[in-house]
């Protein structure tokens, strides 16, 4: 159990800055999720915390101890990789116990610990097999087991569920949440998946081009995005944007306006804030997605609970509550 804090951490490869002056304080036992577009440096930041790559500048401390120069295996951190990275030539039991074997622990102790962990993760019947004989979900559990066995103070996950199908992903998501509850260990979790981020996180860190755009609870990020990037990134389908000029005085001088798809209703033409042509309707069963072209090349997504009963190509009016409108300035920052 430990807090993690990053102070002005930067990383560059040659002339390319990958991580730029990141400040971050993660509390003891907190579950923090990193999200951001592909290539923004999420994995790199995780590797910096783990000590797998050295920082270019800045300090990293864990449990209030400076760890900037401490080698990876001495930081009390375990990491679960996206590809699982199990040793293909070792049995599951050896995969899980390898760290203990390396540290010189005796065979009986290793066996006892491995059995405990395996039972906890419901993989005790697989201990004699090899990774290639396991399904994706089982390999994932083994990877978690291998991390658990070292009793780390901090757990890092790099997109652990991205190789699993939807059902398994939901199951493992619940499993990881349960694990966090039981162990109370600090966890840092990288994901692409909105649902994982929103459901698992105590706090979400939104990264973009190596910088932190915003840190906050899932609700804060959803309700009060600090800028247009975060507003567009959090929420699915993504927020609809339009230039302020198109809405006239309602823009109150903002450069860009945004409305979430779920905040929009279909309204009669005279009440509409904007109106446009219905391009396409998607029936998802529990909801309908309507795509409405409100101006040339600007298509908004609208989430509807019921079928709107309009034909394709019909003119529809869109309305929303005043507080559902987000305003952003020229620099993309949110304005009141």
């Amino acid at each position: 159990m430990a807090s993690v804090s990053l102070n002005q951490v930067s990383k560059s490869y040659g002339a390319v800055d990958i991580i730029r002056a990141v400040d971050l304080a993660i509390a003891d036992g907190e579950f923090v999720v990193f999200v951001g577009p592909s290539g923004c440096g999420k994995s790199t930041l995780l590797r910096l915390i783990a000590g797998l790559v050295p920082v270019s500048s800045g300090d990293i401390s864990i449990a209030d101890e400076d760890m900037t120069e401490v080698p990876a295996s001495k930081r009390g951190i375990a990491i679960v990789f996206q590809s699982y990275a199990l040793y293909p030539h070792m049995t599951i039991a050896r995969n899980i116990g390898f760290a203990l074997e390396t540290s010189g622990l005796g065979k009986p102790e290793i066996k006892a610990k491995v059995t405990d962990i395996a039972r906890m993760l419901k993989i005790d019947h697989l201990l004699g097999r090899y990774p290639r004989q396991l399904s994706g979900g089982q390999r994932q559990r083994v990877a978690i087991g291998r991390a658990l066995v070292r009793q780390p103070k901090v757990f890092l996950f790099d997109e652990p569920l991205s190789n699993l199908d939807t059902d398994l992903r939901a199951e493992m998501r619940v499993e990881i949440a349960r694990l966090h509850e039981e162990l109370g260990t600090t966890m840092v979790y990288v994901t692409h998946d909105q649902i994982e981020a929103m459901t698992l996180a105590d706090r979400i860190v939104v990264l973009n081009e190596g910088r932190i755009e915003q840190i906050g609870t899932p609700q804060e990020l959803y309700r009060q995005p600090a800028n247009q990037f975060v507003a567009g990134f959090i929420g699915s389908p993504r927020m609809n944007f339009v230039a302020g000029a198109l809405l006239g005085e309602k823009a109150r001088g903002a450069t860009t306006l945004g409305v979430r798809p779920e905040a929009i209703r279909l309204v009669p033409a005279e009440e509409a804030h904007v109106s446009g042509t219905l391009l396409r309707l998607e029936d998802l069963g529990h909801e309908h997605l309507a795509y409405v072209e409100i101006a040339r090349d600007i298509t908004w997504t609208v989430r509807l609970a019921a079928h709107p009963d309009r034909e394709r190509g019909a003119m529809v009016g869109l309305g929303w509550a005043e507080e559902a409108l987000y305003r952003f300035g020229t620099d993309g920052r949110a304005v009141a």
Partner: protein, 287 residues
């Protein structure tokens, strides 16, 4: 319409069979072209005297040449020498190459590209170009007329390609697997011996085999650096087999010797074949 469809279906089936037959004939031609010389060598080695001039394709199982070879101490000695030379060359170059490839493929340090280029350039020089320099080196180490000179000389062409092949293998090794080992507390040595090496079996087998074959078949250095018969290796020993008179080419004995010295290579290839093939196809590393 259905009739037309049926007719075209029949035509496609006929075409497929014709293609299959054509492919079979082509394969047969290639096989005959590549295997006939060996077959002819076997047939010739099993004949003696005037039977050698027969053009019949049927072997006659006359083992005279083989018996003579196995009773010739120079020839049997040369096989032992060749085994020692090729075996040591292979082991040493693999050991050197594994260490070098780990450094070149997995670690970051300055001048890495330059070093790889240098290694490649070394293997470009024709043998004859390095001969005189190598001769000096051999004399310097006092290895002239000893089989150690050949091991030293052969390393100059086996090490570059083993390093090159193993380096590209190490490079393609998944980064996360190595990182997992680092997180598990492994030193470089432990990563190399416990994680990388066990997964490198196929690469080691194929490059090692190639190195062994190169060393086994080498002629020029073997002819130059070895003076006396008891230190000769197989290719030179075969080259120096002489007939009863200087006007007779000892066709039968040479063929028999060639067949005998191919056997160890054949045995090695058969033994390692399964490992090599399974390594090529299994994707042993992934997940």
């Amino acid at each position: 319409m259905t009739i037309a469809a049926r007719r075209s279906s029949a035509r496609y089936r006929w075409q497929r069979r014709a293609r299959g037959f054509g492919l079979f004939v082509l394969l047969l031609l290639v096989l005959v072209y590549t295997l006939f010389p060996y077959y002819w060598a076997i047939v010739s080695s099993l004949r003696s005297g005037s039977a050698l001039f027969s053009t019949s394709l049927v072997p006659s199982f006359d083992l005279t040449h083989y018996m003579a070879l196995l009773q010739d101490p120079v020839f049997t000695g040369s096989i032992v020498n060749s085994l020692i030379v090729a075996g040591s060359t292979t082991l040493i170059s693999l050991a050197v190459a594994v260490a070098a490839a780990y450094a070149l493929g997995r670690l970051t340090f300055g001048g890495k590209k330059l070093m790889l280029m240098a290694i490649l350039v070394v293997s470009i020089f024709p043998q004859i170009a390095v001969m005189s320099g190598m001769f000096e080196l051999v004399r310097w180490f006092g290895l002239y007329n000893r089989i150690g000179s050949l091991i030293l000389a052969y390393l100059i062409f086996t090490v570059p390609f083993t390093v090159w092949v193993l380096t590209s293998f190490m490079r393609e090794f998944p980064r996360e697997l190595e990182e997992a080992a680092i997180m598990d507390g492994c030193s470089h040595w432990r990563i190399l011996t416990r994680v990388l090496l066990p997964l490198m079996g196929p690469a080691l087998a194929s490059t090692g085999l190639l190195a062994f074959i190169l060393a086994w078949n080498e002629f020029l250095f073997a002819l130059t650096f070895i003076l006396s018969d008891e230190n000769r290796t197989v290719p030179v020993a075969i080259g120096l087999i002489s007939g009863n008179s200087r006007y007779e080419y000892p066709f039968g004995p040479v063929m028999a010797a060639s067949i005998v010295v191919t056997l160890p290579l054949l045995a090695l290839v058969l033994f390692f074949q399964r490992r090599i093939v399974s390594g090529l196809t299994a994707g042993a590393i992934k997940g």
